[in-house]
Amino acid sequence: MNVRETQLPGIGRKFQADLRSGERIVVVIHDEGRREIYQFDRKDLDESIASFDLDDDEARQLAGIVGGMVYTPRALERVEMAFDALVIEWHKVEEGSRAEGSTIGELGVRKNFGATIVAVIGDGEQIINPGPEVSIRSGTTLVVAGEREQVAGFQAALTADRS
């Protein structure tokens, strides 16, 4: 999935995702917390054909449902400034990725990237707060927490093909 992220100065951030099916989905995150979600028709990318708005809490709930786990970051709502840059990403390990078969310790997730793997979700099992001995298999989903750059760096390293 190809995601383009751009700034909308004075409004917020815009994420544009082109899906495999050819649809284009655009998410606009307003600085004041509201989210707008638009769907574009593949034949006409100038005008959206459908859209809806979410409040911040609705967006988080829905994200939990879409991401496969219902999750409300209550702690985050209380701590506002300190975790300004904290992001939590769900990352599916694709076949043939560099991380496949290594353990978390071998990858040195925290040492090399500064990010933390909060949970490993595979078929039928969930390992919350996995230790360094847990190995990463393709098809599992990693929940990674850290600052935006750290998580992005980790993901980039993870998705790189084995060279």
């Binding site: 909308l8 100065p9 409004i11 815009k14 544009q16 707008e36 005008e47 859209s51």
Partner: protein
């Protein structure tokens, strides 16, 4: 009898009513505030016992309006970010430059053909060039166009315009406020102004670690006092150097935008900006004699036509250059055509310079038309594009037939 508070209260009631009306019709409150200010202003003869002239409070309202300009420009400075500009990308840089190039040139030509003096031409060009960031952003959100492909270009051009406005206002205020009018005096004033601006740019780059420490204040009471003390003092001090107080506020905003307290200051300033800003537009209306609108009518209407044409063409060039479709490019120009708060601020600078009395009513009428017409053009941009492209294709067909 001292009716001062009562008169200010009455003014605020009118401003609140105007804003409620504006919200009802989903318009910016700027034109409504100006109109209501003009209607109740001291230029209107009293109707029997109903005398709303605001004689007692006129000066005070003008002063509160001045405070409004300080907050408006302080906020503009806070929003200003060099980093954002650098990250905006090549197509936006080209689009912004094309837009300002075309519209500023048209403004200069228009002022010159209208027979104004040099300083007045520069003010008129400023009034005509600068879009209303507030109206444009509001229209994008209200019309649900934030996700459209042309939106980055529109916001990028607006950002360019804000920066142009900051630099231009600084230079202009030096020109307009320089006394004596001798060439040498003007040059010295300009040098002082430029040096002063450069000083603030250096401060913005170098002083942020120091300011981060100074502003690291827990108590919001202390924080607001420190920030506002700096704002008013710097603005007032700038005035003594012939730099308009509003520019002092803008430059301070610029310096504070580089600190890590930017968002806290912004949150603090927004309610003050909205409150005193409303008084500013109301008091601007108060200062205009509605009868003089007639003298300016022809000029204003011509300027409106020129602005719409210039914006449409500039938007087309900027959009097509960035690889947008014709329809999306038409949206660019038809969205940034709205005029509002900044044009009025440029015009209010002309008061300080004692220039032609025509500038005020011209600006008022021009902004009234384009703050109401602009959003309508934005809303109907699809239909307008259809009409224009039809006209063009017909012309082309005629050309092909005759050629």
């Amino acid at each position: 009898m001292d009716h001062l508070v009562f008169e200010v209260g009455a003014a605020l009631v009118l401003a609140a009513v105007a804003t409620l009306l504006a919200n009802r019709f989903k318009f910016s409150n700027v034109p409504f505030l100006i109109i209501i200010g003009m209607v109740v202003g001291p230029h209107i003869p009293a109707i029997g016992p109903l005398d709303l002239g605001f004689e007692e409070s006129y000066d005070l309202l003008q002063f509160l309006g001045r405070v409004g300009v300080l907050f408006l420009l302080f906020y503009l400075g806070l929003e200003f970010s060099i980093g954002r500009l650098i990250n905006s990308g090549r197509s936006i840089a080209v689009g912004g430059s094309v837009y300002i190039g075309i519209n500023f040139t048209l403004g200069l030509l228009f002022g010159w053909l209208a027979g104004f003096q040099l300083a007045e031409i520069l003010i008129v060009a400023g009034i005509i060039t600068i879009s209303s960031s507030a109206i444009v952003a509001k229209m994008l959100v209200d019309l649900r166009r934030t996700a459209n492909p042309e939106t980055e270009m529109i916001l990028g051009i607006i950002m360019f315009e804000d920066i142009f406005l900051a630099v231009y206002l600084s230079i202009l205020s030096g020109l307009v406020l320089s006394e004596g009018g001798s060439v040498g005096g003007t040059i010295i004033t300009m040098l002082i102004v430029l040096g002063y601006i450069l000083l603030f740019f250096v401060l913005a780059r170098k002083a942020s670690p120091f300011l981060n420490r100074v502003l690291d204040i827990r108590s919001s009471e202390t924080f607001i006092l420190v920030v506002f003390a700096a704002l008013f003092f710097v603005a007032g001090f700038s005035e003594t150097l012939h730099v308009a107080e509003a520019i002092g506020a803008l430059l301070l905003g610029l310096v504070l935008s580089e600190t890590e307290h930017r968002q806290r200051i912004e949150r603090l300033v927004i309610p003050f900006r909205d409150f005193f800003g409303a008084i500013f537009f109301f008091s601007f209306g108060l200062s205009i004699d509605p009868l003089t609108l007639l003298d300016a009518a022809l000029l204003s209407v011509l300027a409106v036509v020129l602005t719409i044409a210039g914006n449409f063409v500039a938007g087309m060039i900027a959009g097509r250059n960035a690889g947008l479709s014709s329809r999306a490019s038409a949206n660019v120009g038809l969205t940034i055509v709205s005029r509002g708060e900044f044009s009025i601020i440029v015009a209010s600078l002309a008061i300080g310079g004692g220039l032609s009395g025509l500038i005020q009513p011209f600006a008022a009428l021009y902004v009234l038309i384009l703050s109401l017409l602009g959003p309508l053009l934005t809303k109907e941009s699809g239909r307008i594009f259809g009409l224009v492209s039809k006209a063009f294709s017909r012309e082309k067909a005629a050309d092909d037939a005759s050629g």
